[in-house]
Subunit: 185 residues, 2 copies
DNA sequence: ATTAAAACTGACTAATCAGTCAATGGTATA
DNA sequence: TATACCATTGACTGATTAGTCAGTTTTAAT
């Protein structure tokens, strides 16, 4: 594994445990088993490290989930696939989940940054289509997206809090149906 | 206004703008117009300041909202009253909203801390009653509470993002109905 | 008026941290 | 072999910060 990746993985673990400012760059480098200087070679500032990590997580979520959506699926099926993939991904990558949660409520976060990413763009396109076709209620696509995202987060947090795994697909599926019903026409 | 209150208000503003660790205690004291030392007289450590602020916000939310629930109201009416009060409170107290958002995703936060508070306790009792009476779906009360809270947050964020105020009670009411429908039997 | 306790001040410090830099090692190309 | 260019190191620094403390002022009780 190259040092850049090592740094990102270690930083994610430490950030999710101790927060952005609770984690010194020197510590990230030490626990990643690389020198202090190399961190600033790859990420000129701590802020840029954090921003790079955000895109790293979204990229991996995109790769993990979008491939699972099969062609010819209905809209509901597609969104369920993305939903389930997101829940799985967040359960299996606890540090990514915690990192994103902290990032999105931190002063680093801007809506514009998020909109740049293809994962968000894809979701919004899908939802837009759903609104046009009259499958969703007539409310802004962004609100539907945020609402679904919030329910995914709630689901993941709940499953974690109760030490559940994804054997409980049925439970997770029920939660999806609830969220869907509230947004569908 | 006493200095303790001044400190809490100033800290909340600075924290919501620059984050917990982006804000120096010395700066809080300076902008509150008090000495550096007095901050540590009231709050021996920065961590305790942050924790005290959490309880301050929850207390004020409790005082603001619970009084509005009138006796003899149905369960749905009661919960709608609390919902609307929470949305109003968060819109009118932007710094409190941002502070809580950051706090709940920070390493300071623990579920146990939250459960100690009477606001959360009251909400859970109400939901428990609703489950017993068969008005809610058969899922854990905590999940219903977290789900509603997440929807309140989403609502507030959306209204703020679009510079809406609570003239749009109808819109907010629609969002409540959506959330309610997904949780009610 | 006296006393004691509490509120308050602000200069100070020990520790920490983000970022620098001069030097070294490795690798590829000509 | 010589040259050039990254990757890498780790000791170092200037700036910042949470928390201290010795002393002063205010408040309240007897």
């Amino acid at each position: 594994m190259d040092k850049r990746t090592k740094l990102i993985i270690t930083a994610k673990r430490l950030f999710s445990e101790h927060g952005f400012y609770g984690t010194a760059t020197a510590r990230i480098a030490r626990e990643a088993g690389v020198s202090n200087g190399i961190l600033f070679h790859y990420f000129p500032t701590k802020d840029l490290l954090i921003k790079a990590m955000f895109f790293d997580v979204k990229d991996r979520l995109f790769d993990y989930s979008v491939g699972q959506v099969y062609k010819g699926a209905t809209l509901k099926e597609s969104i369920y696939t993305l939903w389930l993939a997101a829940v799985e991904f967040n359960l299996e990558n606890a540090n990514d989940f915690e990192f994103i949660r902290q990032f999105e409520t931190s002063p680093f976060y801007r809506t514009e940054t998020e909109l740049e990413h293809r994962y968000v763009q894809l979701c919004l396109e899908l939802i837009d289509k759903g609104i046009e076709e009259g499958q969703f209620k007539q409310i802004p696509a962004m609100l539907i997206f945020k609402s679904i995202s919030a329910q995914v987060e709630t689901t993941v947090r709940f499953l974690k809090m109760n030490n559940m795994v994804l054997d409980d697909v049925e439970f997770t599926h029920r939660l999806f149906e609830m969220a869907w019903d509230s947004l569908a026409k």
